[in-house]
């Protein structure tokens, strides 16, 4: 699960990392008030940043610096009018703008190859790390943190010297790097990134200039499988940015991803669901979705899956592909029969059920006049043909549901 920058900063702050103050606002007047408070607290400039769960906010005009409260309000108004990669901006972060001397990258990921936590640092901060990895991979320094011990002091020092942060910032960097890994461990994150981690110029109480490290941006992705033990983190899910269909699927316990095609797919098992999509494409069609009903699905879950598929108006044919193991074919067949009796529109359906209780399923499907297929390739071809025929004749309504 992705979380917003402001929430990620809260999690870093909780581990003692240096994060400049911020407020989250939802309107231009609120942004003005927040800016006034930042100026009163001594800021000479404020920054207004769009809070959306996609990258590239800066390039899209979603980050602006303002020299007074009026300018901050105008910036907020402009940013709130934006859509960034299709997502309308609803929230803003407002805080003092840092005087940046130098930018670095620091990140921690769960690495599936080494099966370790990998910590990465680079002196080329403030730009996309994927870009650095392509252009200048040698500029990224990596090491593995122990899954039980976290990042050790000597490892953090090693990274500090590698990116040129020895000297006056060494102690702070060690604290930040260890805190980054601690944030990952405390929250079951699979990614924690600070980009940029910056040396910022500030004025000390006696008026003399000082430099210190600060986390100016934060990106955290949480492990969906671990949310059950972090109820407070579940509350950070941004429902504004979640597609209502995705939410419905999650509530039903169905793995569903909407795509752009016309052939709705219902499958048991993730690998087989992807394969079914691939074979639809190979047969000349376009899949409308990825849908895995999971193992052992009962009739009611099948009916819920059918509702999800039919909620997409682009769907003109449905392919059901079930290889029964834990899942019983006759349960799926019963679910399909129930779903068809009440569905809002009649869409041609091709059903293939093999494996556990396939014979009982075949009898049920035949008695209820479903189109069936024996092989996966045959099922894909029939579904594509049905979608083509539906496209020629236009949509049908279901007479049974109209009664």
């Amino acid at each position: 699960m992705k979380i917003q920058e402001a929430d990620a900063k809260s999690l870093l702050l909780a581990q003692g990392l240096p994060v400049p103050a911020w407020e989250v606002v939802r309107s231009a007047p609120e942004a003005r008030a927040a800016a006034e408070r930042a100026f009163a607290a001594g800021a000479s400039l404020v920054v207004v940043k769009a809070q959306v769960l996609v990258g590239g906010r800066g390039k899209a005009g979603g980050v602006k610096v303002a020299a007074d409260a009026g300018a901050a309000e105008a910036a907020a108004k402009a940013i709130l009018a934006l859509e960034i990669k299709g997502i309308p901006v609803r929230k803003l972060l407002v805080g003092p703008a840092a005087d940046i001397a130098r930018e670095y990258y620091l990140g921690a990921i769960l690495d599936r190859v080494s099966r370790r936590i990998v910590v990465m640092a680079s002196a080329e901060g403030g730009v996309e790390i994927e870009e650095v990895a392509k252009v200048n991979p040698g500029a990224i320094h990596r090491l593995e943190a122990h899954p039980h011990l976290g990042l050790l002091d000597w490892q953090a020092r090693q990274l500090a010297f590698a990116v040129g942060l020895g000297g006056p910032h060494l102690r702070d960097f060690v604290q930040v790097a260890k805190g980054l890994v601690a944030t990952m461990l405390a929250n079951d994150a699979d990614l924690v990134e600070v980009n940029p981690l910056a040396i910022v110029r500030e004025t000390a109480a006696d008026g003399s200039p000082v430099e210190r490290l600060a986390c100016l941006d934060a990106k955290i992705t949480l492990d969906d499988s671990a949310l059950f033990r972090h109820p407070a983190l579940e509350a950070l899910r941004d429902l504004d940015e979640e597609d209502p269909v995705d939410r419905q699927a999650r509530d039903e316990g169905i793995n569903f991803i909407k795509l752009d095609g016309s052939i709705g797919c219902m499958v048991n098992g993730a690998g087989l669901a992807m394969t079914t999509m691939d074979l639809v494409k190979r047969a000349g069609g376009e899949p409308a979705n990825f849908l895995d009903i999971g193992g052992g699905a009962r009739a009611d879950k099948v009916a819920a899956a059918m509702r999800l598929i039919l909620a997409d108006p682009q769907v003109t044919a449905i392919l059901v592909n079930i290889f029964g193991g834990i899942t019983r074919g006759d349960e799926v067949a019963r679910g399909l029969i129930e779903a068809r009796a009440v569905q809002a529109r009649d869409v041609p359906m091709v059903v293939r059920i093999v494996g556990t209780n396939a014979e009982e399923a075949a009898a049920l499907l035949e008695a209820n006049h479903f189109a069936t297929a024996s092989s996966l390739d045959d099922a894909a071809a029939k579904a594509v043909a049905a979608a083509g025929a539906a496209a020629r004749t236009g949509p049908l309504t279901n007479p049974a549901a109209d009664r």
Binding site: V113, A226, I257, A270, L272
Partner: protein, 294 residues
Amino acid sequence: MSILVGRETRLVVQGITGREGEFHSRAMLDYGTRIVAGVTPNKGGQQTLDGRVPVFDTVAEAVRETGANTSCIYVPAAGAPDAILEAAGAGIETIFCITEGIPALDMLRAVAVVQAAGARLIGPNCPGATSPGRAKVGIIPGSVHREGGAGVVSRSGTLTYEAVQAMTDAGIGQSTCVGIGGDPIIGTTFLDVLKLFAADPETDAIVLIGEIGGSAEEEAAAWAAEHLRGVPMAAFIAGRTAPEGRRMGHAGAIISGGSGTAADKIAALEAAGIRVAGSPTEIPAILRAAGYRA
């Protein structure tokens, strides 16, 4: 022979009195797997599955009393990492974890401990392994198999059944079919299983079934190019049409930052001389074209 499971398998089922554990244990017994023990804390001393399997409180006790050498875990996600560590601590050599939805950090820690104990973990989020005619451990339906010499290794569940059924229908039997699991952090990789197949005198062909996400297929392809020359092989990769940045059901099936795509994996396999099927039904024909005479 066969790999990982066989006639020498003495299985302890962790979570045997749960709904899933009991259902699949019955299917394993019916297939002929030697289940010597079950473990459910506080149910020690009972008998389950019509009096055929004794239940113990701890894995250590089950090992001591029955000589169990393999474990299969059906414990829910919150308790499954502990079940893995208990099995490793009791000296179990081969641990299968069927459970789906275990936090990745728990698996990082568990894998480190299992490795230090010298045990082997398969999964989590895997369907288990079957050596046809000998034993099956996990949830793969026994009916899809036929005895033979082709080794199958896969990240999926039902997709594996589909591919294996196609092989069986075409008269190509299997030495062992192994599902390594769809999670990002797993105990045994494609490469580990390829090495086991390479050392198994009864495995004379290999089928690899991968999917988007990570780079384990590429790693396996590079090793196969060097060490499996002359072994008939076929592959299948799921997710050619998967969009970037979305988890396709399996926690590990995600294309991120443009890496882990089906196209990358197919290119790596083809470069290693392994033909990649466009559909699971084409796997038998590819094995035959590679010179396999089963």
